[in-house]
């Protein structure tokens, strides 16, 4: 009898999970459906499961619409996400390694000064940051969108924790060979730490691509709009037809879905590391 109970429970759990999975996938279905439908099909009464004759021309319409600088926004977002990812990896990993491995009298004080910035999330200080960036004359420029976001205390913290656990024997061997800190780092530590770079890199990339508040504040000119700002401008102003908005939204998550499906195990590893519970 117990066995039957266990099997029923397992079946129920599977059914519940399947139902939830369908619910979780509905928004993606809505994106595709809206993106490939004509305006009349979207606003028609009664629900059509899928547009008759998918309107692939919607994609062409999106990229040729002079009111919608989508190509430029995609380019901006790509540049920003790639530069932010590479810059963050370089700066935060070097700092994390120095903090973890180079003995220095004031290392603890520096570490706590870095950690302290985690107490005040960047979003909360967007007004002061805007004041600084505008006095540098960086408003509406890619510089203003990239440079201030390169210094992630979170990434530095993750790298430090990781390097603390890095096998010392490898570095000792390198130092016996006469390599200093710098060459040990590049020749021994980095090549043996690819997974952590991939994990932090994918998380930073996703964050940079999806960032909204800072690009909204700084990207004031049309030419400096990111994908998110462009999309938001059309959504909130409702100057664009719905089917075009859906194509734009679908196009904007396509690069990320690719990154996501290809690198999922690194992302999961990165999320697990971001749990600050040890």
């Amino acid at each position: 009898m117990d066995d039957a109970l266990v099997r029923t429970g397992r079946a129920l759990r599977l059914m519940l999970l399947t139902a939830l999975a369908v619910l979780f996938l509905i928004p993606f279905y809505l994106l595709v459906r809206g993106g490939l439908a004509s305006e009349e099909e979207i606003t028609a009464p009664g629900w059509t499961l899928f547009p008759a004759g998918p309107h692939w021309s919607n994609v062409r319409e999106l990229f040729t619409d002079p009111d919608v600088p989508m190509a430029r926004a995609l380019l901006n977002s790509s540049l920003i996400a790639v530069a932010t990812t590479l810059g963050t990896l370089l700066l935060a990993s070097l700092a994390g390694y120095g903090l973890a491995r180079i003995p220095y009298r004031h290392a603890d004080a520096v570490f706590y000064a870095i950690l302290g910035t985690l107490l005040v999330p960047a979003a909360v200080t967007f007004v002061p940051s805007f004041v600084l960036v505008s006095s540098l004359g960086w408003v509406s420029s890619l510089r203003g969108l990239i440079v201030p976001t390169l210094f992630s205390a979170f990434a530095c913290f993750v790298f430090r924790q990781y390097f603390l656990g890095f096998p010392r024997e490898l570095e000792d061997a390198a130092q016996v060979d006469g390599l200093g800190y710098w060459r040990t780092y590049w020749r021994v530590v980095v090549p043996n730490s690819r997974p952590v770079f991939a994990a932090v890199g994918t998380i930073v990339f996703i964050g940079a691509w999806n960032a909204f508040l800072w690009p909204l504040v700084i990207g004031q000119g049309r030419d400096s709009w990111t994908v998110q700002v462009a999309l938001s401008t059309f959504t909130t102003a409702q100057t664009v037809q719905i089917h075009e908005l859906f194509v734009a939204a679908a196009v904007s998550i396509l690069p990320l879905l690719l990154v996501f499906l290809l690198l999922q195990r690194y992302i999961v590893a990165g999320v697990e590391r971001s749990g600050i519970d040890d």
């Binding site: 000064a113 107490l119 002061p128 940051s129 004041v131 440079v147 999806n210 600050i276």
Partner: protein, 309 residues
Amino acid sequence: MPAAPRRLPAARQRHRALWFWAFVGPFAAGLALFTYVPLAWSVYLSFFDAHNTVSPTEFVRLDNYATLLADASFRSSLVTFAVFSAFIVPATYALSLGLALAVNRLRAGRAFFRSVFFLPTACSYVVAATVWKLSVFNGVRFGLANTVLGWFGAEPVAWLASTDPPWYWLVIITVRLWLQAGFYMVLFLAGLQRIPPRLYEAAALDGARPGWQTFRHITFPALRSTSVAVVLLLIINAFQAFDEFYNLLSDQRGYPPYARPPLVHLYYLALGQGQDLGLGSAGAVLLALIIAVVTVVQARWSGLGRRED
């Protein structure tokens, strides 16, 4: 570490200090410039009347702070945050823990279900808000929720525009729930993997039945440090909520007077028509203080960082 015998200790210390700053310096300098300098600057600005300028001359003492604290709309933005987190923190906690427990016990298809629930993490708030606003909770008849209501003969609901009852909360909560539940599920899954199987074996020997009893006495206590981190992250993220509020609620007429969380309020205060940077800076300082205090108190109270085994 083998020490070079001929080098003097002082020289060696200098050598190390030099390399330390070569590694840490660029990062530390950037962080100082883009975090500490703006914070200090805005503390300074918050004591001045700074309309449209970052180099003000008129010192107004604590007037900006007094104005803010007396301002009903600033106080109501804090209430909005409190209401928002009272819903989103428990909802996300329960859903992500539930998903993790269920997915973790699957024999087959674990990777598939994990991917499905994690997939929304790839979505931006802007995209999700677009789908929610134009499709799921569109206020007209062809929106998904209203279509479903229509099948049961109910009248369409103006989800985002109705304040009585405040249906907009349903839209705001569900969009964030969908976006972030998978992320926290992964954190809980990692926590579940770290629970040593011998704990369950011992519990079974002691006669604990699998299911609620085991969860209550083994799993839940073992997930304590993960739970603490998750709740802290949820509160901090709720405090920073901006994207979905802005994209769901603002339109060509601007932002409605209700449902303004702190950052939305600050956005219109500092960068709206007035560009009152003095008042905006005072707001930023207050919000930074609040979140820092909340973080420290919560970490203290729950013993975050305390080692436990």
